[in-house]
Every structure is written in structure tokens, then in C-alpha cells.
């Protein structure tokens, strides 16, 4: 029975396997001759308890120490960090054309198949382009591998974090607004020598709109043997 003063550590230098190491040794209570009397220990113990109480009351009496942010109330002012990984989205230029051409790099880089791409061949330009970009928010781990792997800077994070839903199937997003050529395909097609205006129109006409919730969950579990199924209504 003794009281340990946590500040009274001792320092020394030793050698471990030929490497000099400076060590700090944890304090222990006084033993042997230096043993303190019962009253000293009692005094120190009570003092230590009061010190702890002083710390907590310090926070109680100073309301300025409250650090709570009130989320739903502060929604207007709440600002995420600029690099915050909220939701994946395709980069669009000011006209609404996307950069992505469905080249598959992100899909390959994704560690758990959260990105599923479908591409198609454009009937006008003959080039490969994005048909549907499925992103499974329900399984995405926000590891940034897709963005890192993307050679066209076609992906970025948005800061929307409010994505709670009642149904898991609604967490499969179609990221592209349209299926069709990306912006640099269109540019190149236009620049190509002697392309008539109506050909460009024809190319643009191949674009088809895509709805946000774009597909069935590509993977559903097989349940688990041994656990009886729950009753359903």
C-alpha cells in the first residue's frame, strides 16, 4: 500500500542487441525504507481524489468547454473537408458531359467489385463508350482506389453523406446521367476534318438518359445454413 506519483519516472540508457536505447521506467510506489506513513498515504489519496473532482467540476462550471456540434440543427452551416469521401460521382463539365469513357480501370482496381461498368459501342463514331456506371454504395469501402486508377480524372468524391435508406437495393446507384460518348469523344469527333454538323447531331442523339437507381443489386447473399429464416409478412 503506497501512493504512486505518476510524475516520478526514472530515466536511463541501456543497450539492446548492440543498439543504444534510452528508456523511461514507470514509477512505482515507494518501498522499503522510503515507505510512507499511513497518514501520508491517506492524505495523498484523498488529495488525488479531490484533484480528479477538480478536473471534472472545471468542465461543468465552464459551459464554453462544451464541444458538441448539433448536427441536424447545424445542417446549414456544416461543412465537410474538401477531400471528404462522401459519395462517388462522375466528373461533369459545365455542359453536363462526363469525362468517363467506360475504360474499366476503376472496375479492375476496385477490391470488392463495388463498381460495375457496362460499355457499348457507339453506332456513329464506332468508339467504345459508357452504357451504365453502377456504383454499389452498400459495399463501397471508400478506399479511393478507383480515383487513383482513373486515367481520365473522370471520378471524384462529393461530400454528401446523408444516404441512409430503408431499402438496401436503393444503395445501388447509376452514376452516369446518360449513356453516350464522353466529352473528349465529342470534341474529337467535331474536330475531325470535314465532319458535317448533322453527324455531330447524330452522335449526340445517341445519348440516352439514365435514372439514378439503375439496377438490381448484382449480388445477394445466399443466407446462412444453420440459422432458420425469419417469418415474413
Amino acid at each position: 500500500m503506497s501512493y504512486i506519483d505518476p510524475k516520478k519516472s526514472s530515466r536511463s540508457a541501456i543497450e539492446v542487441g548492440g543498439v543504444p536505447v534510452n528508456i523511461v521506467v514507470a514509477p512505482r510506489g515507494a518501498t522499503g525504507d522510503k515507505r510512507e506513513g499511513l497518514l501520508t498515504i491517506f492524505y495523498k489519496s484523498v488529495k488525488s481524489l479531490l484533484t480528479g473532482m477538480k478536473v471534472t467540476i472545471g468542465y461543468l462550471v465552464r459551459p464554453s468547454t462544451v464541444v458538441t456540434q448539433q448536427y441536424p440543427e447545424n445542417r446549414e452551416t456544416l461543412k465537410m473537408f474538401e477531400r471528404f469521401r462522401g459519395q462517388l460521382r462522375l466528373v461533369k463539365d459545365e455542359n453536363g458531359y462526363m469525362n468517363c469513357n467506360g475504360c474499366d480501370f476503376c472496375e479492375k482496381a476496385c477490391p470488392n467489385g463495388s463498381i460495375i461498368l457496362q460499355d457499348r459501342r457507339n453506332s456513329v463514331s464506332g468508339k467504345s463508350e459508357l452504357e451504365r456506371y453502377l456504383w454499389r454504395l452498400d459495399s463501397c469501402t471508400f478506399c479511393n482506389a478507383c480515383i487513383q486508377a482513373c486515367p481520365h480524372d473522370a471520378l471524384e468524391w462529393s461530400d454528401g453523406f446523408e444516404a441512409a435508406v430503408y431499402d438496401r437495393r436503393l444503395l445501388v446507384y447509376t452514376l452516369n446521367d446518360y449513356a453516350g460518348p464522353p466529352v473528349n469523344h465529342i470534341k474529337r469527333f467535331k474536330k475531325k476534318a470535314g465532319t458535317p454538323e448533322d453527324r455531330v447531331e447524330e452522335l449526340l442523339a445517341t445519348m440516352e438518359p439514365r435514372h439514378q437507381y439503375g439496377g438490381p443489386t448484382p449480388l445477394s447473399g445466399k443466407g446462412m445454413p444453420g440459422v432458420p429464416p425469419l417469418k415474413t409478412d
Binding site: T68, S139, F161, P209, M224
Partner: protein, 220 residues
């Protein structure tokens, strides 16, 4: 106790002209339930830390919603926040925990692992692909792990659900069809087809019609 509230709606319908008080009562009860969700201390992996950030940490403080009374015993809890991967060995325990809870009980699934298996969907021989294969989930909060604010949004979503009258749910019965928990006479394929249909219907767009109100400009 549970019985009285389960029966309540039937009484309301039978009472001509007198339903006002009970509906009001119902609203009050729903409000009370929505604002007093005591979570079970249950977390399996990383999401649990973020959950603790939300429930415990002073910065976010789930106590504002009256939900800081984390109960270690499922008997006294109203809400499981499933935070983290559920594996085969844990699944029966999770079911037990859910069954031990008293009605009304709610489930929030946070994080990718809980919703779908997350990073462990493929090549894993133990991970359950979605906690909803074990117990019915009311609200899904995606993220890996979700920010505390995202969890709060999930909680608000749940509160919305409770306030809108989800109070009366028979014990052990789930509302949403989940593939593993099929009734005996329904085959897996049917459900998948239904789902496909529902989702396709949802995303069905008339191409011609949309093109007329084209969002993107044709010239560049």
C-alpha cells in the same frame, strides 16, 4: 404491455367518432418511442469506433436524441446499431440478441460490411453478406465507416419511420422480403424477378420524352 399497443389500432377503428383521442395517444406514443431509443452496446469492428464516436464522443453526442443510455443487456434496449462485419459464427448470436430484445425493437445497419459484406463479399468463407439475412433491418446507413453525422441521419430516418406509425409491428415478423428468409412456397427466382421488375420499373424512362426536355445542350 406489448399486447395493449398491438391491439390498440383495432379499438380505434371500432370506435365511431371516438378515435381522436386514441390516435392522438398513438402519436404521443410514437413520439416518445422515437425520442427514446436506447441502443444496445453492440459493435463488432471498425464501425463500432465511429458509432462510439457518435454515441459517446462529446463532439457529436447522441445524447441530444435521448439515445445515450447504452444498455449492455438486450432486454432493455430498443435499438441495435449493427456496427461491423457479421460472420457465420456471430450470426446466431446476433439473432439471439435480437430475439432477446423487447418489442418494439429497431435495427440500424451501419457500414458496408453490415449492409452487404463490404470488402469481404468475395473470397471470404465466413462473412455474411448483409446483416438483413439474419435479422430485419430498418435503416441502412452506408459508409465505411459512416461519419457520426451520417449515423445521425440514419437515426433521424428511423425516427421518421417510427413517428409515421411503425409502432405496431408483430414480434419476429419482418416487413421487407429478404432473399434468405423466404416463405416456404416462394422460390428464390420469383423474388429476384420481382426485384428486377420493381427496379426496372423504377428506372424506366421514356427516351423520346426525355430527349425533348434534354438536360444537356446539343452543341459544344
Amino acid at each position: 404491455m406489448g399486447l395493449a399497443t398491438e391491439k390498440a389500432p383495432e379499438y380505434i377503428e371500432r370506435m365511431p367518432g371516438g378515435s381522436f383521442m386514441l390516435t392522438r395517444m398513438d402519436q404521443v406514443i410514437n413520439l416518445a418511442r422515437a425520442n427514446s431509443l436506447w441502443p444496445l452496446t453492440f459493435g463488432t469492428s471498425c464501425c463500432a469506433i465511429e458509432m462510439m464516436m457518435a454515441t459517446g464522443a462529446s463532439r457529436h453526442d447522441i445524447a441530444r436524441f435521448g439515445a445515450e443510455v447504452a444498455r449492455p443487456s438486450p432486454r432493455q434496449a430498443d435499438l441495435i446499431i449493427i456496427a461491423g462485419t457479421i460472420v457465420k459464427r456471430m450470426a446466431p448470436r446476433l439473432r439471439t440478441l435480437y430475439e432477446q430484445m423487447a418489442e418494439p425493437r429497431y435495427v440500424i445497419a451501419t457500414g458496408a460490411c453490415t449492409i452487404s459484406g463490404g470488402p469481404f463479399i468475395y473470397h471470404s468463407y465466413t462473412t455474411i453478406r448483409g446483416a438483413d439475412e439474419i435479422i430485419p433491418v430498418d435503416v441502412y446507413v452506408p459508409g465505411c465507416p459512416p461519419r457520426p453525422e451520417a449515423l445521425f441521419y440514419g437515426l433521424l430516418t428511423l425516427q421518421k419511420m417510427i413517428k409515421s406509425g411503425e409502432t405496431v409491428r408483430k414480434p419476429g415478423i419482418r416487413k421487407k422480403p429478404v432473399l434468405s428468409a423466404l416463405p416456404p412456397d416462394v422460390s428464390m427466382k420469383e423474388i429476384e424477378a420481382q426485384m428486377q421488375e420493381a427496379l426496372e420499373k423504377d428506372s424506366e424512362v421514356d427516351v423520346e420524352k426525355t430527349r425533348q426536355g434534354l438536360k444537356w445542350p446539343t452543341g459544344i
